[in-house]
Amino acid sequence: MIKLLDKPFKAFTIYALIILLVSIPIYFLVVDWIWVTEIDDNHEIIMERIENRFEQAHLSGHDLETILHTWNTLQPSSSITPITEASGSRDSIYEVTKYNEYESEWDRFRGLQTVIRIDNKPYLLNIETNVEEAYETIFAIGLVTVLLYGLLVFGFIQLNRKISKSVWEPFDSTLTRLKSFDLSAGKELTFEPTDIEEFESLNHTISKLISENIGVYNQQKAFVANASHELQTPIALLKSKLEILFQDEKLSSDQSELVNAIQIPLARLTRVNKNLLLLARIDNSNFSDISEIDFAEKVEKSEELLQDYIGEKKLNFQKSRKGKCVFKSSKFLAETLVNNLLSNAVRHTSANGEIGIEWDDNGFSFRNSGKERLNRDFLFKRFSISTTETTNSGLGLAIVKEICKQNGWEITYDFSDYFHIFSVRFSKF
């Protein structure tokens, strides 16, 4: 994944690189052109000056010859040579590369060749100036460009950081709050006000979305609670009527079996409804029966109640105490938690299997032998029944999860060494 700010940054960097690369030949051409034009202008001026000075000097033929000789010997960049009228030399501007003995390298020269007249005699004036080498110019421009590019990228990075810190700060704060949002907690989210229009509008939209969701969630919760509450009486009546029917002396054996068969799904209906009511209650209320709970005591109580079921399946039940597990909680919730986890283990372990409970100062865990790992994603969700067993209400672990949440504990599932392990850890404070 790429960060939002890095995306334009990358594009900007590439674009800057292209522009700067293209700029190198352009700079070169422009610099070279200015350079050459300037030299040509200069040559022109020098030529005129030489012509004028000679004109004004009124030198005799012999003196002129001596001066020209000295000129040609001493002046390295220009030469004046007499020519005949008929030689037909023309003015020209040229460029030439010559070997420079002093610097022992090849240099580029810009030259002006023109015919001047001194005392009405034609002379060929040749002025040459060393021009910077093309590769040298390109190298210098390239160097500057690379330096500037480096500066540019460095600036981009710094600016990017600064911008991401200041400009994106409200966004990050919104994101942090969203991450910690829990619909079932029923608390609305408030966002820090920001002066950036887009973020303000984002926060506003999210707030609206969340409050609508909370509304729908609460409505749904209330619906489930109301529905299961309303179902209670019909279920109780059904159960009652069946039991009265069961007492009928005239009932045939077939009919009594039928009554029994009806009782099984009815028991399941009762269970599901009871658990739904329980979930609604855990969600809605604060439990006032908070007291010090000794985990070992609760396990013993639960074990006593389930003893027959453990015996029936010939399960090997082991308890291991690694510390004193005492915590503050609602007695009712603590008992429900232990009962649910233990009966869950008993129910899902096949005959002759193994069940273990382990506890220490900071939590407890239930384990039972099993064949394969359960899907962690669905395990604690409501009605995510993993087996085809009809005893499963699909709510037992959802209730366990809710109770842990209510108490601020953490519950995890693990499967190792052919054991399902449910661990509850108390938070560390």
Partner: protein
């Protein structure tokens, strides 16, 4: 013995009366708060079954009224709100027992039996049923002077049967009596069969008549 069923769901009240009627009980019903309040103040009952949510008032008020008048009627709260707070509050005000709906009638009958037994002034705390003598204080069972060693569960079952004479008891009702709420987490209650079998064996070895019958292969009946 007189029992008052305060329950606004008429069908349920009728079934309770129906189930209890064979047991030598005289049952009356009250379907709302005013009539319940009236009956409670006019008559005395051995046991009152009290629903908490009543048309016209709160069941707790009836309980409070009873105790403020120093009436010693036994009270069993039967409530759809399976809430521990209600249970604690009810027992604190002076209810004798609390049973969450939906319940097995047999469980209710056993609880009524137990409440009435406790209310009756009987210093010996003995239940005598044909040849069997049950000492409720020491929780021992004797037949013809010989002690019958019963496990806790067998003893519980025996009391349950005696509280539901001549009634067919389903395995699930028995399982729920033994394991409480947890029983409904399971479909198979075969262990009940083993307990009943052992109880039967021990009683008949002690010389007790064959009163405990298996019915239709799905339930049991204590026939007198």
């Amino acid at each position: 013995m007189k029992i008052l069923v305060i329950e606004d769901e008429k069908e349920l009240a009728r079934d309770i009366v129906n189930y209890l009627s064979g047991e030598n009980y005289l049952c009356e019903t009250a379907a709302d708060f005013p009539s319940a309040r009236e009956k409670v103040s006019l008559y005395q009952y051995d046991c009152i079954l009290l629903d908490l949510m009543l048309p016209g008032g709160d069941g707790f008020d009836i309980l409070e009224y009873l105790r403020s008048q120093n009436k010693q009627d036994g009270v069993i709260i039967i409530s759809a709100k399976n809430s521990l707070e209600d249970k604690i509050k009810g027992l604190n005000i002076g209810a004798d027992d609390y049973l969450a709906k939906p319940f097995h009638h047999s469980e209710l009958a056993a609880r009524i039996h137990s409440v009435i037994r406790r209310k009756q002034f009987d210093p010996s705390n003995l239940i005598v049923q044909n040849e069997v003598k049950i000492d409720l204080l020491s929780k021992t069972v004797q037949i013809g002077g010989n002690g019958i060693p019963l496990t806790k569960k067998e003893y519980d079952l025996l009391l349950f049967f005696i509280g539901n004479k001549n009634r067919v008891l389903s395995k699930s009702a028995l399982a729920e009596h033994l394991s409480g709420d947890l029983a409904d987490m399971f479909d198979s209650h075969d262990f009940v069969y083993a307990h009943v079998k052992n109880l039967k064996k021990k009683l008949s070895e002690g010389g007790y008549g064959n009163y405990l019958k298996t019915k239709y292969g799905t339930g049991y009946k204590w026939e007198i």
